[in-house]
């Protein structure tokens, strides 16, 4: 089974990299990009039957820094 973890900065935490991407898009002539947030996608190959709770623990302990980041888990 596979799980996909999306890690994003929490709302309200400034994302300097996202801002740089927004500026670069503007410089390329793409108007109207009002905000860019950059995050990570982590794909996990897991033994069958691994619970979502286990993946949540992986996120809390390592994959995300919950001081500044939030995560979403997609199973399958």
């Amino acid at each position: 089974m596979k799980a996909r973890v999306h890690v994003m900065l929490k709302t309200g935490v400034l994302d300097p990299q996202g801002e740089a991407v927004r500026h670069a898009l503007g410089a390329l002539g793409f108007d109207g990009v009002e905000g860019v947030r950059q995050g990570k996608v982590i794909e996990l190959d897991l033994a069958e039957g691994t619970s979502k709770e286990t993946v949540e623990q992986m996120c809390e302990k390592l994959l995300a820094n919950t001081v500044i980041e939030r995560f979403d888990i997609e199973i399958g």
Binding site: L14, P16, K61, V67
Partner: protein
């Protein structure tokens, strides 16, 4: 005073940190990240700068979960002293021993230059050798030194005199120009600037010397 200095794959300031401790009069034992326990009888553990595990995932995240760091957390929770510099500061925040997080510099550039710091408190074994408000010059060399914490944490750090150093000219966008913070018991210090890189005239400055000297003075092995 007996210090342990940890080396992770990708550490590059471990030797400099060991030399800074030794020059101040400490005995130093070098420790490898796979070691599961710190040497007996140490007074302080030093977590050096560098790029542990290539900064993969997040700076300091993998190191913070290495075998040796479990004993660093135990050691600090029992009242042991820990000094984390640069990547070491990032490791300490990732272990939860210090609050907040170090994010990408606001200007997105790697910054490598001497910066001015003000000493914000002298009420710690690390800063006792300075004077309150003293301005010192210490090199920084980092890409992710933008200290970020929620307002409650910042208020607590300010209220309990746990901000050790602030930047004179904030180079990286840190909240309230914070360059280094202390744990509640003042025994754990994390800072982005490198005091171990200014302890010898040949370094171009010696403003870091007082930090190591006052530590050695205070942590005389019983």
């Amino acid at each position: 005073m007996h210090a342990a200095v940890i080396t992770f794959p990708g550490s590059n300031c471990d030797r400099d940190l060991a030399v800074a401790f030794e020059n101040a009069g400490a005995k130093v034992t070098r420790v490898w990240h796979k070691d599961t326990r710190l040497p007996d009888g140490i007074d302080i553990v030093g977590i050096p700068g560098g790029f542990s595990f290539g900064d993969y995932l997040r700076c300091g995240a993998i190191a913070a979960n290495s075998p040796i760091c479990r004993s660093v957390v135990d050691f600090a929770n029992k009242g042991g002293y820990a000094l984390g510099i640069c990547n070491g500061f990032q490791v300490l925040t990732e272990t939860g021993l210090l609050p907040g997080a170090l994010m990408r510099n606001a200007g997105l550039k790697f910054i490598c230059k001497p910066v001015g710091l003000t000493v914000e408190t002298t009420d710690s074994p690390y800063t006792e050798g300075y004077t309150q408000g003293q301005e010192i010059s210490v090199p920084v060399a980092h890409h992710d030194g933008n200290y970020t914490a929620d307002q409650d944490v910042i208020d607590r750090l300010n209220g309990d005199a746990r901000v050790a150093f602030r930047y004179v000219d904030n180079p990286n966008g840190s909240d309230e120009a914070i360059a280094g913070i202390l744990s509640a018991n003042k025994r754990v210090l994390g800072m982005m600037p490198h005091p171990e890189r200014c302890v010898d005239e040949a370094h171009g400055g010696t403003d870091g010397t007082a930090l190591f000297r006052s530590l050695v003075d205070q942590l005389v092995t019983a």
